[in-house]
Assembly symmetry: C2
Homo-oligomer: 493 residues x 2
């Protein structure tokens, strides 16, 4: 490891500085915050090839993917900047006084929670890491950010942190608005989450890691919210009409999604469920053929490759599991082998190991005896980031109970598409019922992600010039507000 773990004293100092910075940063204008975010993007880009090459060395990701992810991360920064300035997230509400009823004037808006600690993801060295969505959305909200670098790409993280710190300085922001610490140990994480000045936590990673942070946060004297995205098996349901219509095309679509990025996406489809019949056999055969022809890919780091190898092996060794197809190409060291397995629904019900995520290019096809078993599989599933229905409109209308159940266990419901490819947009829900995340009510992608870092504050009976701009009579920010229960983007009449 090129960097030493931060000590508890260092973490205390960082959090004290973050708190001090919070007192100033929360009063900055929306434009100042947006400028900061855009400047971070500029500074990230300015590092140039050094940044690209460092990521490639640390993560084995191919150049095109790394460049795409950098572009996506800069797009995130600029889109959070735009959302910050548009101010919908402020949820400004005004109810003017009603002296007849004795009702005082009350105005409400969202205010930042305070310093946010971000634990980046190993599989997105830019987009879900140091200057990723958690950092950008927290800065938009007015919260200082302390990032704990992911040990698997700590040099990349250090470079990106440098870009952020230069942007902070260029924009004249208080120094403690951003800090970067290293730490591969349990203790570093715990010290960050339990520090009294930490007010919220963002995390993307494993169930074990996220759940530990969640528990520490809830055991604090004053509990704080933890937004942990902990993965998912993203089930795909194959409905009979759709399979009859296009088993082959559906199989090709699934094969692409399962192996994209060597399967290292949290939205990778790890479970495919259908009713066993000739059409499903065609699907399985086609899927197997596509997987056999897909080359193994080098995984992010040795730890992930090892975990994939072990979990894949454990799954394939289950008596009830049959191996459908394995990539025909010989894997190099630390490569993940594309693999499709299959089992009956009955095996799925009785063996909890088959419900587990195998992080990598692996998917398990569950063969159900009938529609009742298909439904039963849905009732056995835990919370997911996504669920997908491969279905004709007629299928959907004939399986309302299944569609209802599936809506209850996911954050995003896809129709005749694949879960990989997470659009950065306001309507995106990247989150889902536990254990996919610790809080299904929030998203970690899209402008609604800002809402994770704020809480409402009401001002009762304040004179106009003492109020924050967001709720002043004249609406100097020009934002949309609810005024006496009506939306308005003008000044108070």
């Amino acid at each position: 490891m090129p960097f030493k773990d931060a000590t508890e004293q260092e973490i205390d100092q960082v959090m004290q500085e973050a708190w001090k910075a919070f007192m100033q940063f929360r009063k900055t204008t929306l434009k100042q915050r947006a400028d900061l975010m855009r400047t971070i993007g500029v500074e990230m880009e300015a590092i140039g090839d050094e940044l690209i090459h460092t990521v490639m060395e640390e993560t084995h990701l191919p150049e095109a993917r790394v460049k795409n992810e950098r572009a996506r991360t800069i797009f995130q920064l600029t889109s959070y900047a735009a959302a910050c300035e548009a101010g919908h997230w402020l949820e400004a509400r005004i109810d003017t006084a009603n002296p007849e009823k004795g009702d005082p004037d009350i105005r409400k808006m969202q205010v930042p929670l305070g310093p946010v600690v971000v634990f980046g993801a190993s599989n997105f060295p830019f987009a879900y890491s140091t200057a990723g969505g958690d950092t950008a959305s927290a800065l938009a909200a007015g919260c200082p950010v302390v990032v704990k670098a992911h040990p698997a790409h700590s040099r990349t993280s250090e470079l990106v942190a440098g870009a952020i710190l230069r942007a902070v300085e260029k924009c004249g922001m208080p120094k403690g608005v951003f800090a970067h610490v290293h730490g591969a140990s349990f203790e570093t994480g715990k010290a960050l989450v339990t520090h009294p000045h930490t007010r919220a936590v963002g995390f993307t990673g494993s169930y074990g890691g996220g759940k530990a942070l969640f528990d520490w946060a809830n055991q604090r004297k004053a509990p704080i919210p933890v937004f942990a995205e902990m993965g998912s098996i993203n089930p795909i349901f194959l409905l009979p009409g759709k399979l009859k219509q296009s088993a082959k095309e559906t199989a090709a679509l699934c094969a692409g999604s399962i192996t994209l990025g060597t399967g290292q996406f949290c939205t990778n489809p790890g479970l495919i469920v259908g009713i066993d019949n000739e059409d499903l056999q065609v699907f399985i055969k086609e899927l197997g053929a596509a997987i056999a022809k897909t080359a193994p890919g080098t995984m992010l780091h040795a730890g992930i490759a090892k975990a994939y190898g072990e979990k894949r092996k454990a799954a394939l060794q289950q008596q009830e599991v049959e191996t459908v197809s394995v990539s025909e190409m010989q894997p190099q060291q630390e490569q993940g082998v594309p693999t499709i397995a299959s089992a009956t629904a009955k095996a799925f019900f009785s063996n909890p190991l088959l419900h587990q995520e195998v992080f990598g290019p692996y998917s398990l096809v569950i063969r159900c005896a009938d529609a009742a078993e298909l439904l039963a599989v849905a009732t056995h599933l835990e919370g997911q980031l996504t669920c997908t229905m491969m279905a004709t409109a007629k299928d959907i209308k004939e399986h309302t109970e299944l569609v209802d159940l599936v809506q209850d266990i996911c954050g995003r419901l896809i129709h005749n598409g694949v879960p990989t490819g997470v659009r950065v947009a306001l309507s995106m829900q990247h989150g889902g019922p536990f254990p996919a995340t610790t809080d299904s009510r929030f998203t970690s992608v899209g402008a609604d992600g800002i809402k994770r870092w704020v809480r409402p504050l009401s001002f009762q009976n304040w004179e106009d010039d003492l109020l924050p701009d967001a709720v002043k009579n004249g609406n100097p920010l020009g934002i949309w507000r609810m005024v006496n229960d009506q939306l308005s983007n003008g000044a108070l009449a």
Copy 2:
């Protein structure tokens, strides 16, 4: 106790029925839900005097207050009905497909979490109880509700539950949409919170009670949100300019708020903080005189009267605490005696007992040596529902550090008013940082209270006629939606 505690088997049956009802209830239209809420109001009113008299017997509240609270509760039901239909809470968002970029069509809306368990408050037998704000907002969201009756007014709760059940039947809603159970024991609460079909919890009461529910909920296999409002001492800060200008009027205002409803409001001001000088002495003298002339009032029940007596006694017995004034009138049994005490800021810093809520007509005036001590008092305070600044505009501008600190610890910040009297309006934040509530991001009063019971769900690539009405192209609900980042209440162009 006139009713037996529900057994674990009974609770299981109730939750199973609630779950079954959820599958239907979540598909009801906004209008159907609004009709249900309005019908509950009608049925409550139809009980007539029997209901009023039962509350008076169980809680000792005077008739006028009981009638007012009934009117407020019916207003809450109808205002949640209106908010439900207006549909802002659905937060509908549409991002249409962008084939050039390969972006799919995504649409997001809020969906109900599932069955909600509500624990009512002892001090609001209507407004925060069986058909109170938690129940009304959860029904608006599309969540079935299971109420555990407060043992201190279980007959009232039974009557109100009857009204709700009649409304459910009249409106043709699924039977399990509402259920009512009794239980004075620890076990009943735990069984309700830990049942797998329970998806969220609303609570108003003590810190001990709320924290226990919160911990049980977080220790579940799948944790669920708990919205517990656990009380507050609602500090009032007296700034020097304001005191110089109007010490007497301010004292009169405070006295009224401290003794309103025999001090049995969660927003009762239990702490008043000022810089010791002649003006503060005038304030204390006037406050004391007003309190001396205020009659003791009968408290809600024997337990509350006993707790008030004990906590008041413990506070007054502290060596550093001086008793300023006590009601001159002799109290009857179970009456709370209006009381003002005082102590220095130094005593406040060193004695944590002085930070505790004394639920009843009691307030403690903290005398600070200077502005620095005033600030230090603010830094010593835990999270509060409300804070109040008695201040001129000049005071506010000269004490920005104090105002900033105070904003960080409360949910509602009042200027030259009193915290009692919680307006039911969209802009109301009734909530605050821990330990005032378990989740400062949500309110238990006003239409934003609906947001406690929902989570976002995205629909990706769905045909228009398979989508829920809220996100259909034609906007059949006529609600405001974010369409490609712009607010619109029309159909898609």
